[in-house]
């Protein structure tokens, strides 16, 4: 897991804070934690703030009016998400895809799902999930073995599959 603030170093400090029965968690590297603790003496800090801070990460540029990006299904704007740290519906993931991808990577250290899938999906979708997950596993193994040539090859195959899916 990487630091929630700088995103470069491993998070080694894990903060839990409770405000009005609401718990929030932060994962920071030692350096950022030191800075944060100085700031925290003066202000309240919640999960929404944390996600809001993180959510800026994927923002393309200041002049692009990202506050007008709106989920077509539930009407939530990206700004609202930044404020409250909660998405409005499952479609938001698609609507804010370009921002969320880097956010998820920061939070989890990965932005590819490995694990089970719902029972009620078509066989074609199931096959696709299996081939995706298989490739992702192979990618992880290649990186662990430091076989970067093979890793790049697998990464390209995943990209191909993703492109095909978009079309």
């Amino acid at each position: 897991m990487y630091c929630d603030i700088c995103g470069n170093k491993k998070a080694t400090v894990h903060l839990t804070e409770i405000v009005d029965d609401q718990m929030s968690e932060m994962h920071l590297c030692e350096e950022c934690a030191r800075q944060k603790s100085a700031q925290m003496d003066q202000q309240q800090f919640g999960l929404a703030d944390l996600l809001a801070g993180l959510a800026d990460f994927g923002k393309p540029s200041k002049d692009e009016a990202h506050e007008t990006i709106k989920c077509s299904n539930c009407g939530m704007t990206y700004d609202e998400f930044r404020k409250f740290g909660r998405l409005g519906c499952s479609q938001c993931y698609e609507s804010f895809k370009m921002y969320l991808s880097s956010l998820l990577k920061k939070v989890h250290g990965s932005n590819h799902h490995l694990g089970k899938s719902p029972a009620k999906i078509s066989q074609a979708q199931k096959d696709k999930i299996e081939s995706f997950q298989d490739l992702k596993m192979q990618l992880q193994q290649a990186v662990q073995m430091e076989d970067f040539e093979r890793a790049a090859e697998i990464r390209d195959r995943i990209r191909d599959l993703e492109d095909k899916e978009k079309k």
């Binding site: 839990t16 740290g85 519906c89 939070v107 490995l114």
Partner: protein, 349 residues
């Protein structure tokens, strides 16, 4: 089954059975699930929340595991009842505080509870006593499969299960284990252990729910990351970590016995003595003393008390439980008296 029937029993997870039950109180799996396209509870209107409630209730009616379960609308519960369900670890404070359009489903023996319309449409929780993550996962997995045949869950090939908070996206699974670690606390090693745990991206918190500090020497340890690791891998990782913590606690217990047995026995017998004789006692004092008595039972220093009774007391001595047992509202001082009498009755000998 009605809510009042719960008071005569306690959940399966408190029975003090299963692997390493001298140190591990319980294992828990929580899965977050949402219905595809429907707004998440924070964004949903009253009607949409009710539609979700109806859809979930209908789906559960067809599933064998839910046959003997109870369905509560949170709006129908009074404050003591809500507190009672929180104290039993069946629902969260958040679920109770804003009750509109929310429900709770609890299965027989309290193995399974499902919060409907908490932060996500479904929060499925399975609990088992002892160190038993694999069996707990097997039950949760089966229930999730059964539900997903009837409900259209929000899922993406790339990001897995889609949740209201991005910190849960992916498997949307938290595996957690509740550990009783009095010897690590007494030997002042606990902070070292907790620091090591957090370095490995796991979280620790107290016995009385999210956001509570550890009391009674109980620590709940859970995985943090839900994207990029399969459920099996995440459980294997947390299982490995828990085994190490158990080993550390066992070593600390042996060290106390070898190096400082009289002091340890004195502390345990004094705690038992106070609990057996007190007429008025606060919950904080009770929890600390019960922790020592539990250690005494585990080390066979106390032989006339069983672990199950101690485990149950950790739940029963809380305010709403005392009021449900008494069948009426009690002031704080009345509760302290009632608490002491309940303890004398359970472990007074």
């Amino acid at each position: 089954m009605k809510l009042d029937d719960f008071i005569h029993n306690t959940g399966q997870w408190l029975k003090g059975r299963g692997a390493f039950s001298n140190i591990v109180m319980s294992s828990r799996i929580r899965l977050a699930r949402n219905l595809s396209q429907k707004p998440f509870p924070n964004k949903a209107r009253k009607k949409e929340l009710n539609d979700i409630l109806v859809a979930v209730e209908e789906a559960t009616k067809e599933i064998e595991f839910f046959k003997k379960s109870v369905f509560f609308k949170i709006n129908d519960l009074d404050n003591v009842d809500k507190q009672f369900l929180i104290e039993r670890h069946l629902m969260s404070h958040e679920h109770a505080s804003n009750p509109e359009g929310k429900a709770l489903i609890v299965s027989e023996e309290e193995v399974l509870s499902v919060m409907v319309n908490e932060e996500d449409h479904l929060r499925i929780q399975v609990m088992q006593s002892g160190f038993n993550l694999n069996e707990t996962w097997r039950i949760a997995d089966t229930i999730d499969d059964a539900l997903s045949q009837r409900l259209d869950f929000a899922y993406s090939i790339h990001w897995g299960y889609l949740t209201a908070c991005p910190t849960n996206t992916g498997t949307a699974m938290r595996g957690s284990v509740m550990l009783h670690l009095p010897a690590l606390v007494m030997t002042k090693q606990i902070n070292k252990v907790l620091a090591a745990i957090s370095k490995l991206s796991f979280a620790s918190r107290g016995f009385y729910g999210e956001g509570t500090q550890a009391s009674g020497n109980f620590y709940q340890i859970s995985n943090q990351v839900s994207l990029g690791h399969s459920e099996a891998d995440a459980l294997q990782n947390i299982g490995g970590l828990i085994r190490q913590v158990i080993e550390q606690e066992e070593q600390a217990r042996q060290a106390l016995l070898v190096q400082n047995r009289p002091m340890l026995e004195d502390k345990i017998f004094r705690s038992h003595g106070i609990l057996k004789n007190a007429l008025i006692i606060s919950s904080q004092e009770t929890v600390e003393l019960l922790s020592m008595v539990r250690l005494g039972v585990d080390l066979e220093i106390i032989k006339d008390v069983d672990r199950n009774s101690i485990n149950e007391l950790f739940i029963m001595i809380q305010p709403a439980h005392l009021q449900k047992i008494e069948g009426k509202k009690l002031s704080a001082s009345e509760r302290d008296t009632k608490r002491a009498s309940l303890i004398r009755q359970k472990i007074g000998g």
